[in-house]
């Protein structure tokens, strides 16, 4: 045991020092947005500051299969059930399922849906732009629905500010990234910087009129956001999937990537989908909101919509499934198919 003291003191000093530094920067490892978390940039730089509307938690509860008027199958844009609250508020009963819960819109979707006891007329299929192609291909290949419901996510609470805390080393790295960003973004010709492989910071034209965060001239985006428009074959794939639905009325909602809204708004896919399937033109609606001066439509720190943006989306979708629109839409969809 000659070296036990050396051994112990070595461990205590190294871990103690790491702990002291790590704990000092730990507050920086608390992230509200997915982009600040992945990009490891502090919320004090990119966290939104303008208040957002609150949602009554009662509007976030999912209806049972038997009582639902509308079924939503979606990704993380639907998972929080915030846009659905706009429908629930107007008296519709909405059930939400994730794409992962059903594994896709498989060949047996209609009989499977009937077997669940669903008597509603509409199914809203929501997909984010960057996943549209891969998700549609997966759906086309899917033979059998393998349903596995999510457990315990029927919300009874709502918060605009949900902070998740990361590890101690993340706090230290966040501090280093913040210093790097301050240095790089101060350069005159700064346009873009990639803090991590998953995210990029982009200078936004008139950014401070669009965002409320401290560094409002810049916003964060996913690196995997699509730059180019979606091919026409995407629209054909949707027609094939619609043919699996029988008497169910589908409503395809394609969420533009955040980059599409702010950096590449000239894409034509949404116009084509609207013409062919009467799909809600989310891109146009969001661009119009920006033109009206809506701040933090997408918060700078998040790849998802703000509560304001979700409510706009909910209103748009409601317009498409409200009874006044249903007859026309059904006719259009059938003609296109």
């Amino acid at each position: 045991m000659r070296y036990a003291k050396l051994f112990s003191l070595l461990i205590i000093s190294v871990i103690g020092l790491y702990g002291a530094v790590g704990l000092y920067f730990l507050p920086l490892a608390g992230f509200e947005g997915d982009l600040t978390r992945i990009g490891m940039l502090p919320e004090k730089m990119f966290g939104w500051t303008k208040p957002q509307p609150a949602i009554d938690p009662k509007l976030l509860r999912s209806a049972s299969w038997q009582e639902a008027d509308v079924l939503v199958v979606g990704d993380s844009f639907s998972g929080e059930k915030i846009w659905q609250s706009a429908l629930v508020k107007r008296g519709l009963k909405v059930r939400t399922e994730g794409w992962n819960n059903i594994r896709g819109l498989c060949k047996d979707f209609q009989p499977w849906l009937n077997a669940q006891g669903y008597k509603g007329k509409f199914v809203v299929f929501e997909l984010v732009e960057r996943n549209i192609e891969s998700a549609l291909n997966k759906n086309l290949a899917c033979e059998r629905t393998e349903y596995h419901p999510s457990v315990g996510d029927n919300k009874a609470s709502f918060s605009n500010h949900k902070v998740s805390f990361g590890r101690m080393s993340i706090g230290i790295q966040t501090q280093l990234k913040a210093m790097q960003y301050s240095q790089i973004s101060g350069q005159i010709n700064f346009t873009e910087w990639q803090p991590t492989s998953g995210t990029r910071v982009h200078r936004i034209d008139q950014g401070c009129q669009k965002f409320s965060h401290a560094q409002c001239q810049d916003a964060l985006f996913y690196s995997s956001d699509r730059v180019t428009d979606l091919p026409d074959s995407t629209v054909d794939s949707i027609a094939t999937l619609n043919s699996r639905l029988g008497d169910i009325t589908p409503l395809w909602v394609f969420m533009p990537d955040k980059s599409t809204i702010y950096l590449h708004p000239d894409k034509q896919f949404w116009n084509k989908a609207e013409q062919r399937f009467n799909a809600p033109n989310v891109l146009r609606t969001m661009r119009e909101a920006l033109d009206r001066g809506v701040v933090d439509l997408y918060p700078a720190n998040n790849s998802h919509l703000s509560t304001t943006g979700y409510l706009l989306l909910g209103d748009l979708i409601y317009q498409h499934i409200s009874p006044a629109h249903s007859t026309t839409r059904q006719k259009n969809a059938k003609i296109s198919n």
């Binding site: 070296y3 036990a4 315990g152 590890r167």
Partner: protein, 496 residues
């Protein structure tokens, strides 16, 4: 406060350790009192309201202990006594069990009565104080031993410390005063022993790694599969086995991880706690398993339940009855629920079969199998029996347990082919990745089957290079384990 938290590792532990050895230079009494106060703070960090309950329980049991001891001495000296010590012991044990019964079992019994009789009685929601089963059992053992005349020391500070000593207070090991009180009284405990600190640091690191690198990640899969079954889904055969194996590893790494940390921390303070696990999944029989799993609870149940019930002294049939009663109560000790009772009954049945086998067949027949093959087949059978019982232990109710067990037995399961499993359909009741689960399951199983028990770990300190290499390894693994912090992750045995 959790061992696996920043507050404990970077705040509480160093402050208490420094304070203890600093005060020990002035007075051993001060150092012991400091440790007792720190232990109460540790307990109260969770819910200060229950410090009163803990202190009340300590003071009452200490007073009862003194009273029993005094009357026992008077009885043995044939002096006129005030109270019969046996009656005092009875009252004290009933009071302890009443406290435990109220907090842990009242709602369970009322619920069961309501189900049977169709009544609607209610006691409202009762919050279970942390560690109540542990500190109640520890003190019952103290009272019984006082009555038996086996208690030698009644120093109040040492008694408070014996009950509250923070490394064991919440989830054991279940301590015996005989192994603790002499250590608190020994002067060498109050001197820094760098060898103990070094080994303690190593043991703590192994325990922390078990918890954060295995138990917590694998818990997501256990929860996912059992939650899928709870929501009405039928698992595949492969998935049911994966869920059962995942929980088998989770509970071992979680509980033995906690115990390793407790032993390691105690050792830094110069205190040796009893071993609680001895590689239980290497057991070659169920009898062997109960000598290796939660050893201090097995010891308690044997000494204070099985033997007082008559043990094996009153004939064979009574012996099996005693064994079954002990295991049923051992099951109920884990929680107020029928799944725990059935888990205890299953192990009681296993033990009975194991003893019958030994008496009727194994001891009478010449060895037919080579030793290694007998150990392998015994070990496999024991492991499967233990895994099956864990399914009942983990399930929220017997319906869920039955669904899992039917799928494991191939009676009723969601059909998938093996080639589908290989192409990504291992898990269907949850969105989690089957490939990632296998990455945890396989090394976890290899660990529990092949590696030596963590308590064999010892600092090798006679070579400078070796000491530095060991320090580097401990720092690396501590870093890895600390990097997993960030969300609240209590130990499974806190609920028992």
């Amino acid at each position: 406060m959790l061992f696996n938290s920043y507050a404990f590792i970077f705040g509480f532990l160093p402050v208490v350790l420094l304070g203890f050895f600093h005060l020990a230079r002035v007075s051993h009494r001060y150092a012991a009192a400091w440790l007792a106060l720190a232990s109460l703070f540790f307990y109260g960090y969770w819910n200060p309201a229950y410090i009163g309950l803990l202190l009340g329980s300590i003071v009452c049991n200490y007073v009862f202990g003194l009273w029993i001891a005094k009357n026992r001495v008077q009885e043995s000296n044939r002096k006129p006594k005030i109270q019969n010590p046996k009656q005092l012991l009875f009252v004290a044990i009933v009071a302890n069990l009443a406290l435990l019964g109220y907090y842990k079992y009242a709602n369970f019994f009322i619920g069961s009565v309501n189900t049977l009789a169709g009544t609607q009685w209610s006691m409202g929601s009762i919050i279970l104080p942390l560690g109540i089963s542990f500190f109640t059992f520890t003190q019952i053992a103290f009272l019984v031993d006082t009555y038996r005349g086996e208690v030698k020391e009644y120093n109040f500070i040492h008694y408070v410390l014996f009950v509250t000593y923070f490394p064991h207070l919440i989830a054991g090991p279940v301590l015996h005063h005989k192994e603790m009180m002499p250590q608190f009284a020994r002067p060498s405990t109050y001197r820094i022993n760098w060898g103990n600190i070094a080994t303690g640091l190593m043991l703590f690191t192994v325990g922390l790694c078990k918890k954060t690198l295995w138990a917590d990640p694998i818990a997501a899969y256990t929860d996912g599969i059992f939650a899928g079954v709870a929501s009405g889904m039928t698992p595949t055969l492969y998935e049911a086995w994966c869920g059962a194996l995942a929980y088998t590893l989770q509970i071992y790494f979680d509980f033995s991880g906690y115990t390793d940390m407790a032993l390691g921390i105690a050792l830094m303070f110069g205190i040796k706690l009893p071993i609680n696990f001895d590689s239980p999944y290497k057991s070659t029989s169920i009898i062997d398993f109960w000598r290796r799993w939660h050893m201090t609870l097995s010891r308690f149940l044997r000494d204070y339940l099985y033997i007082p019930l008559g043990g094996n002294r009153k004939g064979k049939s009574r012996r099996y009855l005693n064994m079954m009663a002990t295991m049923l109560l051992g099951g109920l000790w884990h929680g107020a629920g029928w799944t725990f009772v059935i888990w205890g009954a299953l192990h009681g049945l296993y033990l009975t079969i194991n003893h019958l086998w030994r008496e009727a067949i194994a001891d009478k027949l010449p060895r037919l199998l080579p030793r290694w093959l007998a150990a392998l087949s015994g070990g496999t059978l024991t492991f499967i029996a233990v895994v099956v019982a864990w399914v009942v232990f983990r399930a929220a109710d017997m319906t869920q347990a039955t669904t899992m067990l039917k799928a494991m037995a191939g009676i009723s399961y969601y059909p998938v082919t093996f080639s589908e499993v290989l192409t990504g359909k291992l898990l269907l009741t949850t969105d989690l990745s089957g490939r990632d689960l296998i990455k945890l399951l396989l090394p976890g199983l290899l660990w529990v089957w092949l590696l030596p028990n963590s308590t064999r770990l010892k600092f090798l300190g006679n070579n400078l290079l070796l000491a530095i290499l060991q320090a580097a390894a401990v720092i690396y693994f501590l870093y890895l384990a600390i990097e997993q912090f960030g969300s609240y992750s209590p130990f499974l045995y806190f609920q028992f």
